[in-house]
């Protein structure tokens, strides 16, 4: 699997660290909304299809990246820096479940 870092170019997945599901929205740190915190910590969409996720190019430029990867084919359709990216691809619909 290759991930094309917008800064470094295509690199082997071994250079990257998976930071998990990019769909989750961290509640305001001072929030005491337990439902929101519970959902953030424990609930996952886990789609079979396009998945919005965060990877760090830890063995390269160390940037955090927002990646849209298909969990059935490992095909990557989008890579962007997390910073400045407001998740336009957030919560993609699982294609095979139409």
């Amino acid at each position: 699997m290759l991930i094309t870092c917008p800064y470094c170019g295509p690199r082997d997945v071994i250079e990257f660290t998976y930071q998990g599901d990019g769909n989750r929205e961290r509640p305001d740190p001072v929030s005491q909304n337990f439902e929101a915190w519970n959902a953030y910590v424990y609930d996952r969409l886990n789609p079979a299809g396009d998945h919005n996720e965060i990877w760090q190019h830890s063995g390269g430029c160390r940037a955090h990246l927002r990646v849209v990867r298909n969990t059935l084919t490992h095909e990557i359709s989008r890579v962007a820096f997390v910073r400045g990216d407001h998740g336009s691809a957030a919560r993609p619909k699982a294609e095979d479940e139409a």
Partner: protein, 419 residues
């Protein structure tokens, strides 16, 4: 139906093995059942078997999208053990272990359960202390556990590098002698035949594509072979839990699907007669009765439904193998494959009524659910029949995360890829 005995084996051998009968029927699905079980893996089949045998509920169908045993029950590395730390896990897996000890007899099917032991290697004094703590916790609950010294370990596994020059020297280990391995396909086939013989319909090539609903209540399923109604619908689909729950309109679950790979070498003469695990990374190995070394390591570590793995883990597992057994460097790997695991947020399973009325859920087995197969089926059948959990699965609820009652044996937090 085919019954196995010394006499039937001999008689069929003398007749050229031409008269064996199929172990289960291939029925078409009926229009309705008392219970539908989605998923013809080990857990679904065991559930059907115990529903019929323990609770007299025989109007049951097991619906399997592929062929029986095509999921993780036929893809795992067959290790069976009950060496957990937390009481909820220890009790549950030890119940399973006791069922394994009688399973071939119970099913009249040789599942080749082999109590060759399972040894966890420690590579630092701290890790050894941690194993002592786990061993004590196990013994408190009546489970066998013993600490081993490097010299004892060397006698047990001569090929292991325990020298101080080893990349990760061995300082000791925790052994569970009653642990071991079983023939995974035989477990599926044995439960399938036992369930079939008690009247359960096992319907292969029947994919569940949606749920029939009456308001909130689940009243059946839509499938690639038509609609089927049921009073109760039980889901035991392991790595497909997320997808099947989406079909029921349940958007999120405390589950992520990850792929786990396994590997087998060419056949060798007897090389190792226990299951050994490497405590410094994630590697474990045993030898099958055919002679191949069966081994694996970590999950690939990112969400996947692909049922195949990627190369970095292959590389990592091989280097861990060589750190322990330098002598295996020139042995050839024969084959490898992947299975999709439903990694839960605390590494422990979910066996429960719900989450919708009329539905029952069995999932979150991570990469350790083969050993659970008998107890999983037994407690799930109890839960379906009585609409309440047995003591053994009462802690394994779906809402334990939100209630702060997680069962996190490894202490990794809500991080599925680390469990």
């Amino acid at each position: 139906m085919a019954e196995y005995s010394a006499f039937s084996l001999l008689a069929n051998a003398l007749k050229g093995n031409k008269d064996w009968k199929p172990a289960w029927r291939k029925p078409d699905p009926k229009a309705s059942y008392d219970v539908i079980i989605i998923g013809g893996g080990g857990h679904g089949l065991a559930t059907a078997y115990y529903l019929a045998k323990e609770h007299g509920i025989t109007n049951v169908a097991v619906l399997e999208k592929g062929w029986l045993g095509s999921g993780n029950v036929g893809r795992n590395t067959t290790a069976v053990r009950s060496n957990y730390l937390l009481p909820a896990n220890t009790r549950f897996y030890e119940h399973s272990m006791k069922m394994w000890e009688n399973l071939s007899h119970e099913l009249n099917y040789n599942v080749m359960f082999s109590q060759r032991g399972c040894l966890n290697l420690a590579h630092t004094p701290t890790q050894f202390d941690d194993y002592a703590r786990r061993g004590n916790a196990m013994r408190h609950l009546g489970v066998d556990a013993e600490l081993m010294t490097p010299a004892e370990i060397k006698r047990l596994i001569p090929a292991l590098d325990i020298s101080s020059e080893a990349r990760f020297p061995v300082v000791g280990g925790l052994m569970q002698r009653r642990a071991g391995t079983a023939r995974h396909d035989a477990v599926a086939w044995g439960y399938a035949r036992g369930a079939d013989r008690r009247g359960v319909d096992i319907v292969e090539n029947c994919e569940v594509t949606g749920f029939l609903r009456d308001g909130d209540r689940v009243t059946g399923v839509t499938t690639s072979r038509g609609d089927i109604r049921a009073k109760k619908v039980a889901v035991a689909v392991a790595g497909s839990t997320g997808r099947v729950m989406h079909l029921a309109g349940i958007e999120t679950m405390p589950i992520e699907s990850h792929v786990l790979q396994a590997f087998v070498t060419e056949s060798l003469k007897p090389f190792i007669d226990t299951v050994v695990t490497f405590g410094m990374g994630h590697f474990y190995m045993s030898q099958s009765d055919k002679g191949g070394l069966v081994y694996g390591g970590d999950i690939d570590g990112y969400n996947s439904y692909a049922q195949r793995g990627n190369l970095p883990i292959v590389d990592e597992v091989m280097s861990e193998m060589l750190a322990l057994f330098p002598g295996l460097a020139r042995v050839r790997m024969l084959r490898s494959w992947g299975g999709v695991c439903d990694m839960s947020m605390d590494g422990s399973p979910i066996i429960t009524t719900g989450p919708l009325p009329g539905m029952y859920l069995n999932c979150g087995w991570c990469y350790g659910g083969f050993k659970a197969t008998p107890a999983s089926g037994w407690t799930f059948a109890w839960t379906i029949a009585k609409d309440e959990p047995h003591d053994f699965n009462a802690p394994f609820t779906l809402d334990r995360f939100h209630r702060g009652l997680v069962i996190d044996d490894k202490g990794q937090g809500a991080n599925p890829r680390l469990h």
